[in-house]
Symmetry: C2
Subunit: 106 residues, 2 copies
Amino acid sequence: MDRKTQARFQARAKILKAISHPTRLFLVDELSRGERCVCELTELVGADVSTVSKHLTILKNAGIVADEKRGTKVFYALRMSCVLNFFSCVESVMERTTRDQVKLLR
Amino acid sequence: MDRKTQARFQARAKILKAISHPTRLFLVDELSRGERCVCELTELVGADVSTVSKHLTILKNAGIVADEKRGTKVFYALRMSCVLNFFSCVESVMERTTRDQVKLLR
DNA sequence: ATTAACCTTGACAATTTGGCCAAATAAGCA
DNA sequence: TGCTTATTTGGCCAAATTGTCAAGGTTAAT
């Protein structure tokens, strides 16, 4: 793998890594239904505010969400909704794996 | 986030995490053009065999690739080709981010 | 001018990940 | 059997990730 190829896949991995975390997937899923402030998201996730804030920063740095401050609140919105397409593929991987495991049991 | 939701997103994250690594993305990309043995993949990646083998194990455990031993070699094949669809979305995230950055410079 | 609400950042400990080497395992062949 | 090739596994270490608490910054309201 040459330097250039390496760099290309590294850039791709950076974006995928950004959404590859249970909490961040949850955030993306929630934001797919509209913008939310950090306080709402914190409530939903049920973790420390600082933890949620950091997860949102990671998503923002990857270019997946955008933030906008209005008054004392910061609203986050999904910027690249194509990531939602990942979900159906992931589901099908899970389904197929389960099916295959069931098959092995018989 | 209740226990059940947590579990669902955890399962999804496990699969996404499996491909979120430069080397593993490269492997998936290569396998999209047909099955390859570990020795071929090791050659292409240019890392230690054991390292490549471990990456392949991760992809296998996630249900993304399947392995088949033939003689002394082990061939890996892409089992869920829908993961290839991720690439175009990731590319568009990258493009858009770059475009926005260029805009900021002016 | 204080106070309160909201969010981000820094420091820190705990855990996980990634990579290499060496050793173990498996299959084919002389 | 003994040797070679192909692959996996275990051990180890460095680096990255995660989560929490404490501290700091910003905006709005009293």
